[in-house]
């Protein structure tokens, strides 16, 4: 419970502090929030008590703590990268909201990952989603941002409805909502398959798998960029974690079904995500669609149903957090400094901002999976786990898709390093916080790839997790 309690306390402290601060003093909330959250992130790495609370509704294991820590690191980087944007005039009055909303969704994700029954799971899910709609509409004076908030809340209402329908069918067929009981009584009767599919559709919405992904493009584009990176990285990571846990723990009797479902959906997701990303000229939309394709790769790890699968998913999410936040960080820094957001604005960036370009290149290489950066190993382990379960064709299709994705990731690199232009983005220097966020992401991309202990450690936590 340490993660949850600590973060709730931080959110409350911020709320109270915000009330006491005069309007002119509002920016002081930023260092307070940053320091508190950094402490929280570090504290998360200390071993926590294992066990079960509330009669099995809440579970804590080292693996689950690890998942939460992975999310924390990502959130920390996002907070650092948001600094410039938060300090803008129009955001000054409500900057504490940004932190409080973000922390609330994070608390929801904690509960979701730790849940031991479907009620807790659902509560966590909604706690994570509703403040997110407020975050999407954070700059509500902009039509697009408001539109994003509304679209998110409407479509998530639909998905929650279907998810809940599935959960009630599960309860109806097994008489319990506890994971352990459901797992015992679950079989392959049509109603149970139906219930599972409804549940899966709801989760697929969260991870934005095709064809449940249509909301992402508009919401990602409309939201402020740091919120977009939060959606595409943290929210997606958390949903993948709980999906893999539930698939492995609760629905393992149904493994033949969900392997087929994942098979179809992952191919669809990779292909469609890639096809959309190919055509994007706006960096934000581009990253949003490429992140849909990345979600398809995550399914590849899940499909194995093995320890290797679990490890590869967590490892990939970790790598993905660093790589995607590296890319988002650069885009956000450039947008904050110049307001430019299109791919051809990046022409000749290397001449004027070599360090940013290098980081962007690293991030692109990592997302595309080029050795030796971390992204290569992330994909490598995902493919290994799918191949070890015998899904050679799926791996083949995934490799083809990885090749297609290489094309558009390299387009960005080409723009920065090769394309010539008369008017490149002028040299600028971001503030210290943003730079720290960028450096952290860049370090992650390199270190997580080379330092194999990270993988080994995750692997050791995944032992004995199945069944």
């Amino acid at each position: 419970m340490r993660h949850e309690l600590l973060l709730t306390a931080i959110a409350l402290i911020l709320l109270v502090t915000d009330i006491m601060l005069k309007p002119s003093q509002k920016p002081r909330i930023i260092p307070v929030a940053m320091v508190l959250f950094s402490i929280h992130t570090i504290a998360g790495f200390f071993p926590a008590q294992e066990g079960i609370l509330f009669g099995g509704m809440f579970r804590a294991t080292p693996l689950i703590s690890m998942m939460k820590n992975v999310l924390n690191v990502g959130v920390l980087i996002i907070l650092l990268q948001s600094y410039t944007w938060l300090m803008k005039e129009e955001n000054r009055d409500k900057m504490s909201e940004y932190f409080i909303l973000m922390f609330s969704t994070l608390i929801g994700m904690y509960f979701m990952i730790s849940s031991g029954d479907f009620l807790m799971f659902y509560l966590g899910l909604e706690t994570a989603t509703i403040p997110m709609a407020a975050l999407a509409a954070y700059t509500h004076h902009q039509t697009k941002s408001a539109e994003a908030g509304v679209k998110l809340i409407l479509s998530s209402a639909l998905s929650s409805g279907i998810l809940l329908f599935g959960l009630s069918l599960i309860y109806g067929s097994t008489g319990s909502i506890y994971f352990s009981d459901v797992a015992l009584f679950y079989g392959t009767e049509p109603m149970q398959v139906l219930a599972f599919l409804f549940f899966f559709s709801g989760m697929a919405f969260k991870i934005s798998l095709v064809p449940f992904h249509l909301w992402t493009a508009d919401v990602y584009e409309g939201s402020p960029i740091n919120v977009t990176s939060y959606f595409s990285v943290i929210s997606k990571g958390a949903a993948s974690f709980i999906l893999v846990l539930i698939l492995y723990k609760v629905f393992f009797q149904l493994i033949d079904v969900w392997q087929e479902v994942l098979y179809i959906i992952s191919i669809l997701t990779m292909v469609v995500g890639n096809l959309f990303a190919l055509r994007q000229k706006n960096m934000k939309r581009f990253l949003a669609f490429s992140s849909i394709a990345q979600a398809g790769f995550i399914l590849l790890g899940m499909i194995a149903g093995s320890q290797l699968g679990m490890t590869s998913v967590i490892y990939f999410v970790l790598v993905y957090i660093f790589s995607n936040l590296g890319a988002f960080g650069v885009v956000s820094a450039i947008e904050a400094a110049t307001g430019k957001i299109n791919m051809n604005d990046y022409d000749g960036l290397y001449i004027t901002n070599p360090k940013l370009s290098l980081l962007m290149m690293l991030a692109m290489f990592s997302l595309a999976g080029i050795p030796p950066v971390a992204g290569f190993f992330g994909k490598f382990f995902l493919f290994t786990s799918a191949a070890s379960a015998g899904y050679y064709w799926l791996v083949f299709i995934a490799v083809l898709n990885a090749t297609i994705s290489l094309y558009y990731y390299l387009m960005v690199v080409k723009a920065m390093f090769i394309n010539k232009t008369e008017t490149p983005i002028a040299t600028f220097r971001s503030d210290g916080m943003t730079r720290a966020g960028l450096i952290l992401a860049g370090l992650g991309i390199v270190v997580v790839g080379f330092w194999s202990q990270v993988y080994e450690f995750i692997n050791s936590l995944s032992v004995g997790l199945l069944y």
Partner: protein, 638 residues
């Protein structure tokens, strides 16, 4: 267990220096980056010597054998439960010996280059590359497993490529660097195939496991046969192919003479003393496997070595570019080492060849680096590579002259210089196991003495050439390394290699076998005498002799047309009959297919754009339809 973890620093120091001088070199004065590199190498040399002294003497228990130990190891990539790729530091007699060789020669070259490369525009770049090479070579030497070795193997290949092509404005240097890279890369393909076969059969990359007498490799002795050789024999022949490429063994030697386009210190370091012996080191590393389960592969090694050494020695007699003479001499001497390993048995006095091969590797590194650095000093003085432009230089370059003479006497195998001991052991080993090879090597010993003294007299004696400006002795930064290496060339023969570096780690008794030693010294002296008569003064006898050999001389002068054979094979045969059809297929079928795919993708991306309409009702519609389709498939159809 004695702690050797600090040996990790030995490869890491040059790596850090490389990163530093490579990234920040252009901001410093050139000499600063040179000094940083040299200081780093000095530290590496100290650590290497310390390790050698501790490993061979102070930490060594009297009477016990030398075992191999892992000073450090981490797992890098987890492939299967059994098969992992690790990175680490392995210490055993040959790796510790190589540490000394690599660090000594590299350190000398670093000092020497401070003078030799002075004023060159790429000075900082040169030092960055030198550090990169040293890092890669040390990583190769200390590899705990064959995959790590392969990684660093490629890295030395890259740094060799960079350094051969150092003068990238010169088309010949660029061509030479490409040639070196492509030829060795081609050989490395064999190495990779060998590694994959080995790991497939034994489930391990680890050297300690591979060479262990009870390990999985030894169980493969029978194995499935292909063309009369067992699987593991084929694997080891493929591995040797990589070694032969890097060590410039016939017929993969064609890159080495051209590699002399690089700066001379580079030739001394990479193409004489360290990288080119990597192939020998590789065979020595896997020697127990070769010896116990694949004697046929060992025969291949022996014969390739023997033929290369004869072949190269004959060509060396006809060349006039002093660096090319030395290059062919290097190839010939490496042939000796390969042959020594190839004729060796395992354990005790049977392992004489193993010891002799490594011994010769050690002494050769000293005297060949000395020869190359001496050649560098000469080129520095007269600005030419061609011996026909030289003569009478002994008056102008006294220190270079003396050290060069010492090196020539050493390579000719005169006692008590180091070359005598190591070459003699090789001849003894060949004498006891393979008479035809012994006869070849015996002849090569004479040829070696002849061509080395032909070189020596043409440079330092002979005609009194008139130079544009008076040649002057090189600065101290260049002569001091010459003196130090000369010291090594003279005295390293007294190192008790038969106690230190043996095939099974146990010492054995070695003594000079006069029946072999006396004739080999005599033929060396005979070679020197002939060379003295022909080249000490200007005379017509060389031309007469050349005419006497007739077309054979022309053949040798043109390096037996090996380059032409390769060109014919690639340009006429492979390009016309393999590449053209493949290119056609690639351009029309493969590209056409790709264009089709690209077109389809483009079209479908355009088509599905309609889904992304922005209308939330439609999103909901698609969402629900997706769920329903899944339900239909899995509840009703499946």
């Amino acid at each position: 267990m004695i702690d050797y973890t600090y040996t990790l620093l030995i490869p890491l120091i040059p790596f850090v220096v490389f990163l530093f001088t490579g990234l920040a070199g252009h901001k410093m004065k050139p000499m600063t980056s040179g000094l940083i590199g040299t200081t780093g190498l000095f530290a590496v040399t100290i650590l290497s010597y310390l390790t050698a002294i501790r490993y061979f003497w102070t930490d060594h228990v009297e009477g016990a054998g030398y075992s191999s130990l892992k000073a450090f190891e981490i797992q890098w990539l987890h492939l299967t439960e059994k098969l992992t790729i690790n990175l680490g530091v392995l210490l055993d007699p040959i790796s510790v010996m190589m540490l000394v060789v690599v660090s000594t020669v590299s350190f000398m070259v670093h000092i020497y280059s401070l003078g030799y490369m002075k004023g060159d525009t790429g000075f900082a770049r040169f030092y960055a590359f030198l550090s990169l090479f040293t890092f890669a070579m040390l990583g190769l030497v200390l590899a705990t497993n064959i995959f790590q070795m392969y990684i660093f193997w490629e890295l030395v290949g890259v740094s060799s490529f960079l350094l051969i092509g150092f003068y990238y404005e010169k088309p010949s240097a660029v061509a030479a660097s490409k040639k070196a890279f492509i030829v060795t890369r081609f050989a490395d393909l064999g190495f990779l195939i060998g590694i994959l076969m080995l790991s497939f059969m034994t489930d391990t990359f680890d050297f300690q496991t591979l060479v262990s007498p009870t390990g999985p490799a030894m169980a493969q002795a029978g194995g499935a046969a292909f063309l009369g050789l067992s699987g593991i024999t084929w694997a080891l022949i493929f591995v040797f192919m990589g070694g032969a490429g890097k060590s410039a063994m016939f017929p993969l030697h064609i890159w080495l003479p051209d590699a002399m386009e690089g700066p001379t210190p580079v030739s001394a370091l990479i193409h004489a003393a360290t990288m080119v012996v990597a192939g020998v080191y590789l065979v020595a590393r896997l020697f127990p496997v070769y010896s116990m389960v694949a004697p046929d592969a060992l025969h291949v090694v022996a014969w390739v070595g023997g033929i290369s050494s004869l072949f190269a020695a004959i060509i060396a007699c006809t060349q006039t570019d002093i660096k090319r003479v030395l290059a062919y001499s290097t190839m010939s001497q490496i042939g000796y080492m390969m042959l020594a390993l190839g004729v060796s048995g395992y354990g005790g006095h049977d392992g004489l060849g193993f010891m002799a091969g490594n011994f010769h590797l050690f002494t050769h590194a000293m005297f060949k680096a000395l020869l190359f650095l001496g050649a560098g000093a000469i080129i520095h003085a007269v600005h030419s590579n061609d011996m026909r432009d030289m003569g009478g230089l002994r008056k102008y370059l006294p220190i270079t002259h003396i050290t060069f003479l010492i090196a020539c006497l050493t390579i000719a195998g005169l006692p008590p210089l180091s070359g005598f001991f190591s070459k003699d052991e090789i001849l003894v080993a060949a004498f006891h196991s393979n008479m035809p090879l012994f006869i070849i090597e015996f002849a090569v010993a004479g040829l070696t003495a002849f061509y080395m003294f032909r070189l020596y007299y043409s440079i330092f004696w002979g005609k009194d050439t008139h130079y544009h400006h008076t040649p002057h002795e090189a600065p101290a930064t260049m002569t001091i390394p010459l003196l130090i290496l000369a010291f090594g060339a003279v005295f390293s023969g007294f190192l008790p290699f038969h106690e230190l570096v043996t095939s099974d780690g146990l010492p054995f008794e070695a003594h000079i076998e006069y029946a072999v030693a006396i004739p080999s010294v005599l033929i060396g002296i005979l070679g020197i005498v002939i060379a003295t008569l022909m080249y000490r003064k200007v005379s017509t006898s060389p031309a007469k002799l050349a005419n006497g050999f007739g077309s054979f001389y022309t053949w040798a002068y043109h390096k037996f047309y090996m380059d032409e054979v390769y060109l014919f094979m690639t340009k006429k045969v492979i390009f016309n009959y393999i590449s053209r059809p493949v290119a056609w297929f690639d351009r029309h079928i493969v590209d056409g297919f790709m264009n089709l795919i690209a077109h389809v993708i483009e079209r479908s991306a355009y088509l599905i754009k309609g889904f992304q309409s922005g209308r939330i009702q439609q999103y909901g519609y698609v969402f629900v339809s997706g769920t329903i389709v899944l339900v239909i498939i899995f509840v009703y159809l499946w």
